[in-house]
Protein backbone atom coordinates (compact mmCIF):
# COMPACT_ATOMS: atom_id res chain seq x y z
CA UNK A 1 0.00 0.00 0.00
CA UNK A 2 1.48 3.34 -1.08
CA UNK A 3 0.29 6.80 -0.08
CA UNK A 4 1.68 10.29 -0.06
CA UNK A 5 2.05 12.74 2.78
CA UNK A 6 3.13 16.33 2.48
CA UNK A 7 6.20 17.50 4.37
CA UNK A 8 3.99 19.76 6.48
CA UNK A 9 1.67 16.90 7.37
CA UNK A 10 4.52 14.60 8.23
CA UNK A 11 5.21 16.92 11.19
CA UNK A 12 1.60 16.46 12.28
CA UNK A 13 1.95 12.72 11.81
CA UNK A 14 5.01 12.65 14.01
CA UNK A 15 3.35 14.86 16.63
CA UNK A 16 0.45 12.40 16.66
CA UNK A 17 2.84 9.47 17.16
CA UNK A 18 4.49 11.30 20.06
CA UNK A 19 1.16 11.18 21.93
CA UNK A 20 0.98 7.40 21.83
CA UNK A 21 4.58 6.29 21.62
CA UNK A 22 8.04 6.96 22.91
CA UNK A 23 9.73 8.18 19.74
CA UNK A 24 13.43 7.78 18.95
CA UNK A 25 14.65 9.85 16.02
CA UNK A 26 17.82 11.46 14.66
CA UNK A 27 18.39 14.52 16.84
CA UNK A 28 21.22 16.68 18.11
CA UNK A 29 23.33 15.06 20.80
CA UNK A 30 26.08 17.50 21.77
CA UNK A 31 27.70 18.47 18.45
CA UNK A 32 26.48 15.61 16.36
CA UNK A 33 23.30 13.80 15.35
CA UNK A 34 22.34 10.49 16.87
CA UNK A 35 19.18 8.58 17.64
CA UNK A 36 17.63 9.60 20.93
CA UNK A 37 14.22 10.02 22.49
CA UNK A 38 12.55 13.19 21.20
CA UNK A 39 9.77 15.20 22.82
CA UNK A 40 8.62 17.17 19.77
CA UNK A 41 9.00 17.07 15.96
CA UNK A 42 11.15 20.22 16.14
CA UNK A 43 13.95 18.21 17.73
CA UNK A 44 14.22 15.88 14.76
CA UNK A 45 17.08 16.45 12.32
CA UNK A 46 15.68 15.56 8.90
CA UNK A 47 18.70 15.78 6.64
CA UNK A 48 21.20 13.55 8.44
CA UNK A 49 21.90 10.45 6.38
CA UNK A 50 24.30 8.57 8.64
CA UNK A 51 23.87 9.42 12.31
CA UNK A 52 26.99 9.38 14.47
CA UNK A 53 25.74 6.47 16.56
CA UNK A 54 23.55 3.85 14.97
CA UNK A 55 20.07 3.26 16.39
CA UNK A 56 21.15 -0.01 18.02
CA UNK A 57 21.10 1.96 21.28
CA UNK A 58 17.28 1.83 21.17
CA UNK A 59 17.23 -1.95 21.57
CA UNK A 60 20.66 -2.51 23.07
CA UNK A 61 21.67 0.51 25.17
CA UNK A 62 25.35 1.24 25.59
CA UNK A 63 24.83 0.79 29.33
CA UNK A 64 21.88 -1.18 30.62
CA UNK A 65 21.07 -2.40 34.13
CA UNK A 66 19.88 -6.01 33.93
CA UNK A 67 18.70 -6.45 37.50
CA UNK A 68 19.11 -5.18 41.02
CA UNK A 69 20.16 -7.45 43.84
CA UNK A 70 19.77 -7.08 47.58
CA UNK A 71 20.97 -9.52 50.16
CA UNK A 72 18.83 -9.29 53.25
CA UNK A 73 19.24 -10.97 56.60
CA UNK A 74 17.06 -13.79 55.35
CA UNK A 75 17.82 -14.21 51.68
CA UNK A 76 18.39 -12.70 48.29
CA UNK A 77 16.12 -10.45 46.29
CA UNK A 78 16.52 -9.95 42.56
CA UNK A 79 14.54 -7.38 40.65
CA UNK A 80 14.80 -7.76 36.89
CA UNK A 81 14.64 -4.60 34.81
CA UNK A 82 13.62 -6.29 31.55
CA UNK A 83 10.06 -4.97 31.29
CA UNK A 84 9.27 -2.39 28.63
CA UNK A 85 6.02 -0.58 29.35
CA UNK A 86 5.44 1.83 26.52
CA UNK A 87 5.26 1.12 22.79
CA UNK A 88 8.01 2.81 20.83
CA UNK A 89 8.63 4.23 17.38
CA UNK A 90 12.02 4.31 15.75
CA UNK A 91 11.62 7.20 13.33
CA UNK A 92 13.72 7.92 10.27
CA UNK A 93 15.85 4.80 10.36
CA UNK A 94 17.94 4.23 7.21
CA UNK A 95 17.91 0.93 5.28
CA UNK A 96 21.47 0.00 6.31
CA UNK A 97 20.63 0.42 10.00
CA UNK A 98 17.44 -1.61 9.52
CA UNK A 99 19.48 -4.38 7.93
CA UNK A 100 21.85 -4.22 10.91
CA UNK A 101 18.89 -4.55 13.27
CA UNK A 102 17.83 -7.71 11.43
CA UNK A 103 21.33 -9.11 11.95
CA UNK A 104 21.16 -8.25 15.65
CA UNK A 105 17.74 -9.95 15.83
CA UNK A 106 19.43 -13.12 14.61
CA UNK A 107 22.00 -12.82 17.40
CA UNK A 108 19.80 -11.85 20.33
CA UNK A 109 16.63 -13.74 19.47
CA UNK A 110 17.67 -17.32 18.78
CA UNK A 111 15.41 -20.36 19.21
CA UNK A 112 17.50 -21.64 22.13
CA UNK A 113 17.90 -18.43 24.12
CA UNK A 114 15.99 -15.17 23.92
CA UNK A 115 17.79 -12.12 25.20
CA UNK A 116 14.69 -10.64 26.80
CA UNK A 117 16.26 -7.22 27.36
CA UNK A 118 16.68 -6.90 23.59
CA UNK A 119 13.56 -8.72 22.42
CA UNK A 120 11.22 -6.87 24.81
CA UNK A 121 12.31 -3.53 23.35
CA UNK A 122 12.39 -4.81 19.80
CA UNK A 123 8.92 -6.33 20.04
CA UNK A 124 7.43 -3.05 21.22
CA UNK A 125 9.01 -0.89 18.52
CA UNK A 126 7.56 0.24 15.22
CA UNK A 127 10.20 0.99 12.59
CA UNK A 128 9.59 3.90 10.26
CA UNK A 129 12.32 3.88 7.65
CA UNK A 130 13.41 6.46 5.15
CA UNK A 131 15.27 6.04 1.89
CA UNK A 132 18.57 7.70 1.05
CA UNK A 133 18.28 10.06 -1.90
CA UNK A 134 21.91 11.15 -1.88
CA UNK A 135 24.18 8.47 -0.41
CA UNK A 136 27.50 9.70 0.96
CA UNK A 137 30.93 8.93 -0.46
CA UNK A 138 31.47 6.56 2.48
CA UNK A 139 28.25 4.62 1.85
CA UNK A 140 28.53 1.15 0.32
CA UNK A 141 25.30 -0.66 1.19
CA UNK A 142 24.96 -1.94 -2.38
CA UNK A 143 28.34 -3.68 -2.06
CA UNK A 144 27.09 -5.82 0.80
CA UNK A 145 23.62 -6.79 -0.27
CA UNK A 146 21.69 -3.71 0.78
CA UNK A 147 20.32 -0.69 -1.02
CA UNK A 148 19.39 2.94 -0.34
CA UNK A 149 15.70 2.07 -0.71
CA UNK A 150 15.67 -1.47 0.66
CA UNK A 151 12.45 -1.75 2.62
CA UNK A 152 12.82 -5.14 4.28
CA UNK A 153 12.38 -4.98 8.04
CA UNK A 154 10.48 -1.72 8.44
CA UNK A 155 6.80 -1.20 9.16
CA UNK A 156 6.49 1.98 7.14
CA UNK A 157 8.91 3.27 4.53
CA UNK A 158 9.19 6.90 3.44
CA UNK A 159 10.71 8.14 0.18
CA UNK A 160 11.45 11.84 -0.14
CA UNK A 161 9.85 12.97 -3.42
CA UNK A 162 10.35 16.73 -3.09
CA UNK A 163 7.50 18.47 -1.28
CA UNK A 164 6.08 15.18 -0.06
CA UNK A 165 6.99 11.70 1.04
CA UNK A 166 5.80 8.55 -0.62
CA UNK A 167 4.78 6.26 2.26
CA UNK A 168 4.68 2.51 1.82
CA UNK A 169 3.30 0.14 4.44
CA UNK A 170 5.33 -3.05 4.74
CA UNK A 171 3.43 -4.63 7.65
CA UNK A 172 -0.01 -4.53 9.24
CA UNK A 173 1.30 -2.03 11.77
CA UNK A 174 2.41 0.14 8.87
CA UNK A 175 -1.01 -0.17 7.18
CA UNK A 176 -2.63 0.96 10.40
CA UNK A 177 -0.46 4.08 10.47
CA UNK A 178 -1.42 4.89 6.87
CA UNK A 179 -5.06 5.28 7.92
CA UNK A 180 -4.27 8.77 9.24
CA UNK A 181 -6.19 11.53 7.43
CA UNK A 182 -2.96 13.28 6.38
CA UNK A 183 -2.11 10.39 4.03
CA UNK A 184 -3.51 10.71 0.50
CA UNK A 185 -3.58 8.30 -2.42
CA UNK A 186 -0.31 8.36 -4.34
CA UNK A 187 -0.52 9.59 -7.92
CA UNK A 188 1.24 8.04 -10.88
CA UNK A 189 3.51 11.09 -10.90
CA UNK A 190 4.48 10.43 -7.27
CA UNK A 191 5.49 6.86 -8.09
CA UNK A 192 7.47 8.04 -11.08
CA UNK A 193 9.31 10.65 -9.00
CA UNK A 194 10.15 7.98 -6.42
CA UNK A 195 11.57 5.74 -9.13
CA UNK A 196 13.71 8.57 -10.49
CA UNK A 197 15.00 9.35 -7.00
CA UNK A 198 15.88 5.70 -6.39
CA UNK A 199 17.71 5.34 -9.68
CA UNK A 200 19.71 8.51 -9.05
CA UNK A 201 20.72 7.26 -5.60
CA UNK A 202 21.83 3.88 -6.92
CA UNK A 203 24.10 5.58 -9.45
CA UNK A 204 26.08 7.10 -6.57
CA UNK A 205 26.84 3.71 -5.01
CA UNK A 206 29.41 0.98 -5.79
CA UNK A 207 28.79 -2.40 -7.39
CA UNK A 208 28.05 -5.56 -5.33
CA UNK A 209 31.00 -7.53 -3.94
CA UNK A 210 31.37 -11.29 -4.22
CA UNK A 211 30.83 -12.08 -0.54
CA UNK A 212 31.23 -15.84 -0.91
CA UNK A 213 34.64 -15.48 -2.47
CA UNK A 214 35.67 -13.07 0.31
CA UNK A 215 34.63 -15.72 2.82
CA UNK A 216 36.57 -18.44 1.03
CA UNK A 217 39.58 -16.18 0.89
CA UNK A 218 39.35 -15.44 4.61
CA UNK A 219 39.11 -19.15 5.45
CA UNK A 220 42.52 -19.65 3.86
CA UNK A 221 44.07 -16.56 5.45
CA UNK A 222 44.14 -17.40 9.14
CA UNK A 223 47.91 -17.31 9.34
CA UNK A 224 48.44 -14.73 6.59
CA UNK A 225 50.99 -11.94 6.99
CA UNK A 226 48.22 -9.66 5.76
CA UNK A 227 46.99 -9.24 9.33
CA UNK A 228 50.40 -8.00 10.50
CA UNK A 229 50.38 -5.32 7.81
CA UNK A 230 46.80 -4.36 8.41
CA UNK A 231 47.15 -3.90 12.16
CA UNK A 232 50.33 -1.85 11.84
CA UNK A 233 48.40 1.41 11.61
CA UNK A 234 45.43 0.42 13.79
CA UNK A 235 45.42 2.14 17.19
CA UNK A 236 43.00 -0.38 18.68
CA UNK A 237 40.65 2.44 19.74
CA UNK A 238 37.56 0.37 18.97
CA UNK A 239 35.57 3.20 17.36
CA UNK A 240 34.85 0.98 14.33
CA UNK A 241 33.05 -1.51 16.57
CA UNK A 242 31.35 0.88 18.99
CA UNK A 243 29.79 2.82 16.11
CA UNK A 244 29.05 -0.26 14.02
CA UNK A 245 25.30 -0.88 13.84
CA UNK A 246 25.88 -4.65 13.69
CA UNK A 247 28.48 -5.14 16.45
CA UNK A 248 26.79 -6.57 19.52
CA UNK A 249 29.56 -7.51 21.95
CA UNK A 250 29.09 -6.58 25.56
CA UNK A 251 30.60 -6.89 28.99
CA UNK A 252 28.71 -7.70 32.19
CA UNK A 253 29.77 -6.11 35.47
CA UNK A 254 28.40 -5.67 38.96
CA UNK A 255 28.05 -2.18 40.35
CA UNK A 256 27.66 -2.16 44.10
CA UNK A 257 28.68 -4.08 47.17
CA UNK A 258 28.27 -7.75 48.07
CA UNK A 259 24.99 -6.88 49.78
CA UNK A 260 23.29 -4.60 47.25
CA UNK A 261 23.79 -3.25 43.79
CA UNK A 262 22.99 -3.93 40.19
CA UNK A 263 24.29 -6.03 37.34
CA UNK A 264 24.97 -3.97 34.24
CA UNK A 265 25.91 -4.70 30.69
CA UNK A 266 28.02 -2.34 28.66
CA UNK A 267 29.05 -2.35 25.02
CA UNK A 268 32.46 -3.89 24.62
CA UNK A 269 34.83 -4.34 21.72
CA UNK A 270 36.97 -7.15 20.36
CA UNK A 271 39.57 -4.50 19.54
CA UNK A 272 40.64 -4.14 23.17
CA UNK A 273 43.40 -6.24 24.70
CA UNK A 274 41.40 -6.75 27.88
CA UNK A 275 38.43 -8.15 26.01
CA UNK A 276 39.88 -11.66 25.95
CA UNK A 277 42.49 -11.28 28.71
CA UNK A 278 42.06 -14.04 31.26
CA UNK A 279 42.63 -13.72 34.99
CA UNK A 280 45.69 -15.96 34.71
CA UNK A 281 47.34 -13.42 32.38
CA UNK A 282 46.88 -15.61 29.32
CA UNK A 283 45.42 -13.78 26.34
CA UNK A 284 44.29 -15.82 23.34
CA UNK A 285 44.29 -12.65 21.21
CA UNK A 286 47.43 -10.96 22.46
CA UNK A 287 48.09 -8.46 19.68
CA UNK A 288 46.42 -6.24 17.13
CA UNK A 289 46.99 -8.93 14.55
CA UNK A 290 44.58 -11.36 16.18
CA UNK A 291 42.12 -8.61 17.07
CA UNK A 292 41.85 -7.05 13.61
CA UNK A 293 41.62 -10.54 12.16
CA UNK A 294 38.78 -11.30 14.54
CA UNK A 295 36.83 -8.23 13.45
CA UNK A 296 37.13 -9.00 9.75
CA UNK A 297 36.62 -12.74 10.12
CA UNK A 298 33.57 -12.25 12.32
CA UNK A 299 31.92 -9.85 9.92
CA UNK A 300 32.63 -11.60 6.64
CA UNK A 301 33.04 -15.24 7.66
CA UNK A 302 31.56 -16.28 11.03
CA UNK A 303 28.32 -14.29 10.62
CA UNK A 304 27.73 -16.06 7.31
CA UNK A 305 28.16 -19.43 9.03
CA UNK A 306 26.07 -18.68 12.13
CA UNK A 307 23.47 -16.17 10.96
CA UNK A 308 23.50 -16.70 7.21
CA UNK A 309 24.20 -13.00 6.57
CA UNK A 310 27.33 -10.92 6.74
CA UNK A 311 28.01 -8.58 9.64
CA UNK A 312 28.50 -5.44 7.59
CA UNK A 313 25.73 -3.27 6.13
CA UNK A 314 27.84 -0.65 4.38
CA UNK A 315 26.84 2.33 6.53
CA UNK A 316 30.41 3.61 6.39
CA UNK A 317 30.62 4.83 9.99
CA UNK A 318 33.88 2.96 10.56
CA UNK A 319 35.24 4.53 7.37
CA UNK A 320 34.13 8.03 8.39
CA UNK A 321 35.45 7.92 11.92
CA UNK A 322 38.59 5.78 11.97
CA UNK A 323 41.33 8.07 13.34
CA UNK A 324 43.97 6.51 11.08
CA UNK A 325 41.78 6.24 7.98
CA UNK A 326 41.54 2.47 7.83
CA UNK A 327 38.88 1.82 5.20
CA UNK A 328 37.10 -1.50 5.33
CA UNK A 329 36.30 -1.26 1.61
CA UNK A 330 39.98 -0.96 0.80
CA UNK A 331 40.81 -3.79 3.22
CA UNK A 332 38.37 -6.06 1.41
CA UNK A 333 39.98 -5.21 -1.92
CA UNK A 334 43.46 -5.88 -0.51
CA UNK A 335 42.20 -9.12 1.02
CA UNK A 336 41.40 -10.37 -2.45
CA UNK A 337 45.01 -9.75 -3.49
CA UNK A 338 46.66 -11.03 -0.30
CA UNK A 339 48.11 -14.45 0.34
Amino acid sequence: MKKRISKEDVITFLARLLKDYTVYAPAKVADYVSFREVASPEEVVWDCLVTRQPPKEVFFPQTEALFRYVKTANGLQLQSLETVERERVLWGVRPCDVQATLVQDAVFDTPDVRDVYYTNKRGKTILIGIGCNRPLSTCFCTSVGGGPFKKEGVDLFLTDIGDSYLAEAMTDKGKELLKGSYFHPATRADLKTAKTVEEAALKRLPAPMDLQSIKQHLDAMINSLFWDDMQATCLGCGVCTFLCPVCHCFDIVDEGTPSCGQRVRNWDTCQYCIYTLEASGHNPRPSGKERTRQRLMHKFDYYLINQGVIGCVGCGRCVQLCPVNLDIRQILVELGEAK
Binding site: L66, F67, Y69, K71, A73, N74, G75, L76, Q77, L78, Q79, S80, E82, T83, V107, F108, T110, D112, V113, R114, D115, V116, Y117, T119, D219, I222, H248, C249, F250, D251, I252, V253, D254, G256, T257, P258, S259, G261, R263, R265, D268, C270, Y275, T276, L277, E278, A279, S280, H282, P284, R285, E290, R293, Q294, M297, H298, D301, Y302, I305, N306
Partner: protein, 293 residues
Protein backbone atom coordinates in the same frame (compact mmCIF):
# COMPACT_ATOMS: atom_id res chain seq x y z
CA UNK B 1 26.76 -14.70 57.99
CA UNK B 2 23.06 -15.40 57.62
CA UNK B 3 21.68 -17.88 60.07
CA UNK B 4 18.14 -18.31 58.81
CA UNK B 5 17.59 -18.24 55.08
CA UNK B 6 14.07 -18.00 53.75
CA UNK B 7 13.00 -18.63 50.23
CA UNK B 8 14.17 -15.59 48.31
CA UNK B 9 11.79 -13.59 46.18
CA UNK B 10 12.79 -13.50 42.54
CA UNK B 11 10.67 -11.43 40.22
CA UNK B 12 10.68 -12.91 36.75
CA UNK B 13 8.60 -12.52 33.62
CA UNK B 14 6.83 -15.41 31.85
CA UNK B 15 9.64 -15.66 29.27
CA UNK B 16 12.70 -17.11 30.98
CA UNK B 17 15.36 -14.49 31.49
CA UNK B 18 18.71 -16.13 30.75
CA UNK B 19 20.62 -13.52 32.76
CA UNK B 20 18.95 -14.02 36.13
CA UNK B 21 21.00 -16.21 38.45
CA UNK B 22 19.41 -18.76 40.73
CA UNK B 23 20.20 -18.25 44.41
CA UNK B 24 22.49 -20.86 45.94
CA UNK B 25 24.06 -21.23 49.34
CA UNK B 26 27.60 -22.32 50.16
CA UNK B 27 27.14 -25.58 52.03
CA UNK B 28 30.76 -26.46 52.55
CA UNK B 29 34.23 -25.29 51.53
CA UNK B 30 37.09 -27.73 51.18
CA UNK B 31 40.73 -26.75 50.67
CA UNK B 32 42.07 -29.03 47.93
CA UNK B 33 45.76 -28.25 47.67
CA UNK B 34 48.68 -27.61 50.00
CA UNK B 35 49.21 -24.13 48.61
CA UNK B 36 45.61 -23.18 49.57
CA UNK B 37 45.04 -21.87 46.07
CA UNK B 38 42.32 -24.36 45.18
CA UNK B 39 39.12 -24.76 47.10
CA UNK B 40 36.06 -26.82 46.31
CA UNK B 41 32.78 -25.06 46.99
CA UNK B 42 29.72 -27.18 47.58
CA UNK B 43 26.58 -25.28 46.62
CA UNK B 44 22.92 -26.05 47.22
CA UNK B 45 19.94 -24.39 45.60
CA UNK B 46 17.91 -22.28 47.97
CA UNK B 47 14.66 -23.12 46.21
CA UNK B 48 13.48 -26.67 45.89
CA UNK B 49 12.17 -26.18 42.34
CA UNK B 50 15.54 -24.92 41.10
CA UNK B 51 17.20 -28.06 42.43
CA UNK B 52 14.55 -30.23 40.70
CA UNK B 53 14.91 -28.41 37.38
CA UNK B 54 18.70 -28.51 37.30
CA UNK B 55 19.93 -31.37 35.10
CA UNK B 56 23.45 -31.37 33.75
CA UNK B 57 25.99 -33.50 31.92
CA UNK B 58 29.66 -33.90 32.84
CA UNK B 59 31.65 -31.16 31.14
CA UNK B 60 28.98 -28.50 31.40
CA UNK B 61 29.54 -25.36 33.43
CA UNK B 62 27.75 -22.58 35.29
CA UNK B 63 28.21 -18.85 35.58
CA UNK B 64 28.74 -18.32 39.30
CA UNK B 65 27.71 -14.92 40.67
CA UNK B 66 29.72 -13.40 43.47
CA UNK B 67 27.47 -10.41 44.00
CA UNK B 68 29.35 -7.14 43.86
CA UNK B 69 32.19 -8.70 41.87
CA UNK B 70 30.34 -10.22 38.93
CA UNK B 71 30.18 -13.64 37.32
CA UNK B 72 32.71 -16.19 36.14
CA UNK B 73 32.34 -19.60 34.51
CA UNK B 74 33.28 -22.80 36.39
CA UNK B 75 32.77 -26.38 35.29
CA UNK B 76 30.89 -28.72 37.57
CA UNK B 77 33.36 -30.96 39.39
CA UNK B 78 30.60 -33.18 40.71
CA UNK B 79 28.87 -35.76 38.60
CA UNK B 80 25.11 -35.74 37.97
CA UNK B 81 25.15 -39.26 39.41
CA UNK B 82 26.33 -37.96 42.78
CA UNK B 83 23.64 -36.90 45.21
CA UNK B 84 24.05 -33.76 47.27
CA UNK B 85 25.44 -30.34 46.51
CA UNK B 86 27.02 -29.20 43.25
CA UNK B 87 30.80 -28.97 43.49
CA UNK B 88 32.97 -26.31 41.90
CA UNK B 89 36.72 -26.26 42.35
CA UNK B 90 38.09 -22.74 42.06
CA UNK B 91 41.66 -21.55 41.61
CA UNK B 92 42.36 -18.24 43.34
CA UNK B 93 43.49 -16.12 40.39
CA UNK B 94 41.70 -12.83 40.02
CA UNK B 95 39.32 -10.41 41.72
CA UNK B 96 36.25 -12.64 41.67
CA UNK B 97 37.96 -15.88 42.66
CA UNK B 98 39.79 -14.11 45.50
CA UNK B 99 36.49 -12.77 46.81
CA UNK B 100 34.99 -16.25 46.47
CA UNK B 101 37.90 -17.79 48.37
CA UNK B 102 37.17 -15.38 51.22
CA UNK B 103 33.58 -16.57 51.48
CA UNK B 104 32.39 -19.27 53.80
CA UNK B 105 29.55 -21.59 54.61
CA UNK B 106 26.08 -20.07 54.58
CA UNK B 107 26.92 -17.25 52.21
CA UNK B 108 24.79 -16.68 49.12
CA UNK B 109 25.94 -16.92 45.53
CA UNK B 110 24.10 -16.94 42.22
CA UNK B 111 24.17 -19.66 39.59
CA UNK B 112 23.26 -19.62 35.91
CA UNK B 113 23.31 -22.86 34.03
CA UNK B 114 23.95 -25.54 33.17
CA UNK B 115 25.69 -24.05 30.15
CA UNK B 116 27.66 -25.55 27.28
CA UNK B 117 27.62 -28.93 25.60
CA UNK B 118 29.44 -31.28 28.00
CA UNK B 119 31.40 -34.37 27.05
CA UNK B 120 29.97 -36.48 24.19
CA UNK B 121 28.91 -39.42 26.35
CA UNK B 122 26.96 -41.12 23.58
CA UNK B 123 30.03 -41.03 21.34
CA UNK B 124 32.16 -42.46 24.13
CA UNK B 125 29.77 -45.34 24.74
CA UNK B 126 31.25 -48.79 24.09
CA UNK B 127 34.74 -47.34 23.72
CA UNK B 128 37.94 -47.32 25.75
CA UNK B 129 38.41 -43.92 27.40
CA UNK B 130 41.84 -42.43 28.09
CA UNK B 131 41.68 -39.41 30.37
CA UNK B 132 44.71 -37.17 30.55
CA UNK B 133 44.75 -34.30 33.04
CA UNK B 134 47.32 -31.87 34.30
CA UNK B 135 47.36 -29.36 37.12
CA UNK B 136 44.04 -27.98 38.27
CA UNK B 137 42.29 -28.52 34.93
CA UNK B 138 40.95 -31.74 36.37
CA UNK B 139 37.58 -30.53 37.63
CA UNK B 140 35.21 -31.57 34.85
CA UNK B 141 37.38 -34.65 34.28
CA UNK B 142 36.43 -35.67 37.82
CA UNK B 143 32.78 -35.21 36.88
CA UNK B 144 33.27 -37.36 33.78
CA UNK B 145 35.15 -40.09 35.67
CA UNK B 146 32.62 -40.26 38.50
CA UNK B 147 29.85 -40.42 35.93
CA UNK B 148 31.43 -43.29 34.02
CA UNK B 149 32.32 -45.17 37.22
CA UNK B 150 28.80 -44.96 38.57
CA UNK B 151 27.33 -48.49 38.75
CA UNK B 152 24.50 -47.47 36.41
CA UNK B 153 26.97 -46.35 33.73
CA UNK B 154 30.15 -48.39 34.12
CA UNK B 155 29.09 -51.14 31.72
CA UNK B 156 28.47 -48.56 28.97
CA UNK B 157 32.20 -47.91 28.68
CA UNK B 158 35.17 -50.22 28.20
CA UNK B 159 38.59 -49.73 29.80
CA UNK B 160 39.07 -46.45 31.62
CA UNK B 161 42.64 -45.17 31.86
CA UNK B 162 43.44 -42.03 33.84
CA UNK B 163 46.77 -40.22 33.62
CA UNK B 164 46.89 -37.28 35.99
CA UNK B 165 49.88 -35.12 36.77
CA UNK B 166 50.69 -32.21 39.06
CA UNK B 167 53.86 -30.37 39.98
CA UNK B 168 53.89 -31.76 43.54
CA UNK B 169 51.90 -34.42 45.40
CA UNK B 170 50.18 -31.76 47.47
CA UNK B 171 48.82 -30.09 44.37
CA UNK B 172 46.79 -33.08 43.20
CA UNK B 173 43.05 -32.50 43.51
CA UNK B 174 40.44 -34.87 44.93
CA UNK B 175 42.84 -37.02 46.94
CA UNK B 176 40.05 -39.14 48.45
CA UNK B 177 38.71 -39.92 45.00
CA UNK B 178 42.18 -40.82 43.74
CA UNK B 179 42.53 -43.35 46.56
CA UNK B 180 39.12 -44.82 45.75
CA UNK B 181 39.84 -45.05 42.02
CA UNK B 182 43.20 -46.66 42.70
CA UNK B 183 41.50 -49.44 44.64
CA UNK B 184 39.11 -50.25 41.82
CA UNK B 185 40.00 -53.03 39.43
CA UNK B 186 38.08 -51.47 36.53
CA UNK B 187 40.23 -48.32 36.36
CA UNK B 188 43.89 -47.88 35.46
CA UNK B 189 45.11 -44.83 37.33
CA UNK B 190 48.55 -43.32 36.72
CA UNK B 191 49.52 -40.42 38.93
CA UNK B 192 52.66 -38.45 38.23
CA UNK B 193 54.48 -35.46 39.64
CA UNK B 194 57.07 -33.37 37.83
CA UNK B 195 60.11 -34.50 39.88
CA UNK B 196 60.56 -37.19 42.49
CA UNK B 197 60.15 -36.15 46.10
CA UNK B 198 60.75 -38.24 49.24
CA UNK B 199 57.76 -40.39 50.14
CA UNK B 200 56.26 -40.37 46.65
CA UNK B 201 55.81 -43.88 45.34
CA UNK B 202 54.00 -43.22 42.08
CA UNK B 203 55.31 -41.99 38.73
CA UNK B 204 57.57 -39.03 38.19
CA UNK B 205 57.88 -37.02 34.99
CA UNK B 206 55.80 -34.73 32.83
CA UNK B 207 52.43 -35.85 31.54
CA UNK B 208 53.44 -36.07 27.84
CA UNK B 209 56.33 -38.42 28.69
CA UNK B 210 54.12 -40.53 30.94
CA UNK B 211 51.58 -40.84 28.12
CA UNK B 212 54.36 -42.04 25.84
CA UNK B 213 55.61 -44.54 28.44
CA UNK B 214 52.19 -45.99 29.25
CA UNK B 215 51.23 -45.93 25.58
CA UNK B 216 47.47 -46.48 25.87
CA UNK B 217 46.06 -48.24 22.82
CA UNK B 218 44.15 -46.06 20.40
CA UNK B 219 42.06 -48.97 19.14
CA UNK B 220 38.37 -48.24 19.78
CA UNK B 221 39.51 -45.49 22.12
CA UNK B 222 38.86 -41.83 22.74
CA UNK B 223 41.29 -39.53 24.54
CA UNK B 224 40.09 -36.64 26.70
CA UNK B 225 42.80 -34.16 27.56
CA UNK B 226 42.61 -31.14 29.85
CA UNK B 227 45.51 -29.18 31.25
CA UNK B 228 47.77 -26.20 30.76
CA UNK B 229 48.34 -25.25 27.09
CA UNK B 230 51.99 -26.37 27.21
CA UNK B 231 50.98 -29.82 28.44
CA UNK B 232 48.37 -30.16 25.72
CA UNK B 233 50.76 -28.96 23.03
CA UNK B 234 53.40 -31.52 24.00
CA UNK B 235 50.94 -34.37 24.55
CA UNK B 236 49.18 -34.03 21.19
CA UNK B 237 52.10 -35.42 19.12
CA UNK B 238 52.37 -38.35 21.56
CA UNK B 239 48.70 -39.16 21.06
CA UNK B 240 49.09 -38.84 17.31
CA UNK B 241 52.03 -41.26 17.43
CA UNK B 242 49.85 -43.70 19.37
CA UNK B 243 47.34 -43.57 16.54
CA UNK B 244 44.66 -41.24 17.97
CA UNK B 245 43.17 -39.20 15.10
CA UNK B 246 42.05 -35.60 15.86
CA UNK B 247 38.38 -36.61 15.85
CA UNK B 248 39.08 -39.01 18.72
CA UNK B 249 40.83 -36.47 20.92
CA UNK B 250 38.59 -34.20 22.96
CA UNK B 251 39.41 -31.27 25.19
CA UNK B 252 37.47 -28.83 27.31
CA UNK B 253 38.54 -25.29 26.51
CA UNK B 254 38.54 -22.19 28.64
CA UNK B 255 38.04 -18.63 27.56
CA UNK B 256 37.10 -15.41 29.22
CA UNK B 257 33.30 -15.44 29.21
CA UNK B 258 30.49 -13.14 30.22
CA UNK B 259 27.03 -14.14 29.03
CA UNK B 260 27.58 -17.88 28.63
CA UNK B 261 24.83 -18.08 25.99
CA UNK B 262 26.53 -16.96 22.78
CA UNK B 263 25.46 -13.31 22.82
CA UNK B 264 28.26 -11.22 24.31
CA UNK B 265 30.72 -12.27 21.65
CA UNK B 266 34.03 -12.73 23.41
CA UNK B 267 34.67 -16.47 23.63
CA UNK B 268 34.60 -17.42 19.96
CA UNK B 269 37.14 -19.63 18.27
CA UNK B 270 36.34 -19.18 14.63
CA UNK B 271 32.57 -19.58 14.22
CA UNK B 272 32.22 -21.53 17.48
CA UNK B 273 31.41 -19.97 20.81
CA UNK B 274 33.18 -21.84 23.61
CA UNK B 275 30.24 -21.12 25.94
CA UNK B 276 27.51 -22.42 23.66
CA UNK B 277 29.14 -24.74 21.11
CA UNK B 278 31.76 -25.93 23.63
CA UNK B 279 33.47 -25.96 26.01
CA UNK B 280 34.17 -29.52 24.82
CA UNK B 281 35.61 -29.78 21.32
CA UNK B 282 37.34 -32.46 19.33
CA UNK B 283 40.61 -31.48 17.72
CA UNK B 284 39.04 -32.23 14.35
CA UNK B 285 36.57 -29.40 15.01
CA UNK B 286 39.36 -26.99 15.90
CA UNK B 287 41.53 -27.80 12.87
CA UNK B 288 41.82 -24.87 10.49
CA UNK B 289 40.55 -22.32 13.00
CA UNK B 290 42.59 -19.56 14.62
CA UNK B 291 44.42 -21.00 17.64
CA UNK B 292 42.79 -18.51 19.95
CA UNK B 293 42.64 -20.59 23.10
Amino acid sequence: MTSTIQTPKVLVSPVPNPYLPLPVRIEHVHVETDDNMLKTFELTFMREEDACNFHFRPGQFCEVSVFGKGEAPFGMASSPTEPGPLKFTVNKTGVLTTALHNMGEGEILGLRGPLGNGYPLDTFEGQHIVIIGGGFAFTTLRSLIQYMLDPSNRSRFQDITIIYGARLPGLLLYKEDLVAWEQRKDVSLYLTIDREVPGWTKLAGFVPDVVERIAPSSKDAYAVICGPPIMIRLTMPKLTALGFPPERIYSSLERRMKCGIGKCGRCNIGPYYVCKDGPVFSYAQLAGLPQEY
